[in-house]
Symmetry: C2
Subunit: 202 residues, 2 copies
């Protein structure tokens, strides 16, 4: 009888568990023995699926980054106007973050834990992702270069990525509500007239 679980599905399970452990106590303090305990697999058995601890981190980051990037491009596809597209990006990023907390925390917090070509590969994805947001920000006001869109893009990324230090998706604030608040904050600021007093222009 053939094993009903494929190699890939079992690798994926290992990556999911590893992402949780990495997110919980950090990449470097996590030992392969801890992963073998958590995956209920022998220490040596893990090496049948990955070449080592670094590849584990690389695969987590590579798959996660590819997924956010593809998801963002999909979410932007049918956006109408610069502001709408930016809002869609924010909503997708926050939503993806909230539903893939461990992987995204590993992506954000262990960005420099790889080296060599693996780091270069992940940084390539990062550059594409940052460029995407910077373009969206720049498109907001084409003719008034008052502020560096790159700075604004990084500010927005900071706002969103920092949530791994304080936000709990199961708490009182839903990911959607958080995304809405972030979009409002970034577009209009804190002291923006709340929509309740009805400042809507259209």
């Amino acid at each position: 009888m053939v094993d009903p679980l494929t190699f890939d599905s079992r690798l994926a399970r290992i990556l999911t568990v590893a992402a949780k452990v990495f997110a919980g106590k950090g990449f470097h303090p996590t030992t392969m023995r801890a992963l073998s305990r958590e995956t209920e697999m022998s220490l040596a058995g893990i090496y049948h699926y990955v070449s080592g601890k670094n590849e584990l981190l690389y695969l987590i980051q590579q798959r996660c980054f590819s997924a956010v990037l593809a998801g963002a491009e999909r979410a932007l596809a049918d956006g109408h106007g610069p502001a709408d597209r930016l809002e869609r990006f924010i909503r997708h990023h926050v939503g993806f973050f909230a539903s893939h907390m461990s992987e995204m925390k590993v992506l954000a917090h262990e960005a420099d834990s790889l080296d060599g070509v693996r780091l270069a590969d992940i940084n390539g994805l990062k550059r594409r992702y940052v460029d995407l947001l910077r373009t969206l920000v720049a498109d907001l006001d084409d003719n008034s270069p008052k502020g560096d869109p790159q700075v604004a893009a990084y500010a927005l990324f900071g706002m969103m990525n920092w949530i791994y230090t304080w936000y709990h998706p199961d708490g009182p604030i839903s990911p959607d509500a958080l995304a809405d608040r972030f979009a409002q904050l970034f577009l209009s600021g804190v002291i923006a007239p709340s929509p309740s007093t009805a400042p809507q222009g259209d």
Copy 2:
């Protein structure tokens, strides 16, 4: 002749060097042997000043956090009005960050690398600092509880603290300019009417 360097000043030098190394390659990957190389002191010699690697991290975080906290309270002392006080906080935080990059990166990035009473102590300082900013944000609009000031405060912290991943104080953007941009972004958003029609107010 008495050594012109005091115990405290030499400890401070060790902490400065250690903060640089921790910021460069992370707390856990940094070895005591690397610190002994960087401080030009023997491996065992370091243990004359600190009890171990964890205390090194603790002292860096404790001193740095106490300094930002005290500095912020000083900066706020003679502020006029909620918006002005918030702007002063931002300016101080970004300015302090830029002039103490290594320590602040260690503070932000190694927030969970301590444990026990040391972690609890640092978290106590963090709570005071976060509470301070949340109060400033809440004071902006007393009577319209449209948005959770805690969320806005965390968003602002994310915006500011994330700079350790991309900002270089010696680059084209001065810390003052960055703080101005952040204040403008947080208060009015990206699409705020720029003061470009009359940028110079005085």
